[in-house]
């Protein structure tokens, strides 16, 4: 039976293959075989093509027979696992997953055909163990983190996800006017004379930004995705589905036009700051007027590696994200408010006593 998904199976023993970050190869945990990405890509090219065609055919048939809105129930899609025949229920943006019954790594090639095909991918470099270790390290050295959280919070889920990102090359043309002052102070007799020379300073020019990442998935929290930047683009590869087995992957559900606003806000702020850096030799410099026009010169689509870790404590979920390439981990932690107020009180008393001693010594 024709299937819409591809299982990446070991050519030697047919067990599931997964991409191994440290070695950069696809490995089989059962027979120990390891294969180059290009080798597996060539091996599964035909299967992926057939799966994409089947999915396309199924979609067009559905469009003919089923009234609009009936094709997908509550944004879900179902596929049949080619290995065990189980039904895989996925989000409509899911592009790679694994079968919960037989454990086979599954890629849905249809999500990456035509204009939806990513240009680049940064393969996972760090393993799940590294993500768990980074989370434990993240808890350390934080005085206001409840001690009970460290002991009681348990890891609900750790998953490696290739998150869809748009990479924007944007050119900013800026003209910024500043109110600047050059201040000098001199003492004459019993007077302090402050002389301020006021200037109108203008700086204009262009700033070229390259590959600003912005996630194109509404499921991913923007603050987490922004905070795990930067990615090292030197390790970016041409997209291949052979990097996906063993991880989850999503197709974008927010196009580049939707995401452009976030990028433009960042470019505008930075362009003004960069022009401000060009103003030197003044005591103060305040932005009086800023005109910034932006032009997106190139937008590329890439899948970037992110480990998502979720913990639960006192019925509240805490989400952490780790850059699967650099290991940078972020995520908000709870505050021990009792400790906070006790510390505030203690420090206030301490500083007050210290100030009293200093004042007595100086008087």
């Amino acid at each position: 039976m024709a299937t819409q998904v591809t299982n990446y199976q070991c050519p030697t023993c047919t067990a599931p293959l997964h991409f191994d970050g440290p070695s950069g190869k696809l490995v089989c945990d059962y027979c120990g075989g390891s294969y180059e990405v290009a080798e597996i890509e060539a091996m599964f090219a035909e299967a992926n093509k057939k799966a994409a065609q089947t999915a396309q055919k199924a979609e067009s048939e559905k469009n003919e027979d089923v009234p609009e809105g009936w094709g997908t129930e509550e944004g879900m899609k179902s596929y049949s696992c080619p290995s065990c025949g189980a039904e895989l229920i996925c989000d409509e943006t899911t592009a790679a997953t694994s079968c919960p019954y037989c454990g086979n790594t599954t890629v849905i090639p249809h999500q990456f055909t035509g204009t939806r095909r990513p240009d680049y991918v940064i393969p996972f470099k760090l393993e799940k163990d590294a993500a768990v270790a980074a989370l434990k390290k993240h808890y350390k050295g934080k005085f206001l983190l409840p001690r009970a959280f460290m002991k009681e919070a348990h890891l609900d889920e750790v998953k490696g996800v290739y998150v869809p990102f748009w990479l924007f090359d944007t050119k900013a043309t800026a003209r910024v006017v500043f109110d600047a002052t050059d201040e000098s102070v001199r003492v004459s007799g019993d007077e302090r004379i402050i002389t301020s020379k006021h200037y109108k300073v203008t700086r204009g020019g262009t700033v070229e930004f390259e590959r600003i990442p912005v996630d194109g998935s509404s499921k991913m929290p923007d603050a987490h995705m922004d905070s795990i930047e930067p990615f090292n683009y030197e390790e970016m590869k041409e997209f291949s589905m052979a990097y996906l087995p063993g991880f989850l992957a999503d197709k974008y559900d927010q196009d580049e036009k939707t995401c452009a606003q976030r990028v433009h806000d960042r470019c505008r702020n930075s362009a003004v700051e960069i022009m401000k850096d060009q103003v030197t030799g003044y005591t103060s410099c305040i932005v009086a007027d800023a005109k910034v026009s932006l032009e997106d010169q190139r937008v590329k689509y890439a899948l970037l590696p992110v480990w998502l870790l979720s913990t639960k404590w006192k019925d509240k979920s805490y989400l952490f994200a780790m850059n699967g390439q650099t290991g940078k981990l972020v995520g908000d932690l709870p505050v021990d408010w009792t400790r906070f107020w006790l510390l505030l009180l203690g420090l206030t008393v301490g500083f007050w006593l210290l100030a009293g001693v200093i004042m007595q010594l100086t008087s």
């Binding site: 050295g141 934080k142 005085f143 206001l144 983190l145 600047a180 003492v187 019993d190 007077e191 302090r192 004379i193 402050i194 002389t195 301020s196 020379k197 006021h198 200037y199 109108k200 300073v201 203008t202 700086r203 204009g204 020019g205 262009t206 700033v207 070229e208 930004f209 390259e210 600003i212 929290p221 922004d226 905070s227 930047e229 930067p230 960042r266 702020n269 930075s270 700051e273 960069i274 060009q278 994200a321 995520g331 908000d332 932690l333 709870p334 505050v335 906070f340 510390l343 505030l344 009180l345 420090l347 206030t348 008393v349 301490g350 500083f351 007050w352 210290l354 100030a355 009293g356 004042m359």
Partner: protein, 64 residues
């Protein structure tokens, strides 16, 4: 009284700094990391003098 106010301000600053350690997921406002060395071209530079203001402050040489 002044020493108490200073103590409260310092204590609040320390506590907020420690609380800030727990919040690491924030929306980025800048994109300067993505500017290449040769990506900045300044084409307009003008510094125009407007006027001068002079402020005279009496120095109180007695006790504060």
């Amino acid at each position: 009284m002044i020493s108490l106010i200073i103590a409260i301000i310092l204590a609040v600053m320390v506590c907020l700094m420690l609380k800030g350690q727990l919040r690491t997921a924030v929306i980025k406002k800048q994109a300067d990391t993505y500017v290449e060395d040769r990506g900045i071209h300044v084409t307009e530079k003008e510094d125009r003098y407007l006027h001068t203001t002079v402020v005279r402050q009496k120095i109180n040489r007695g006790k504060d």
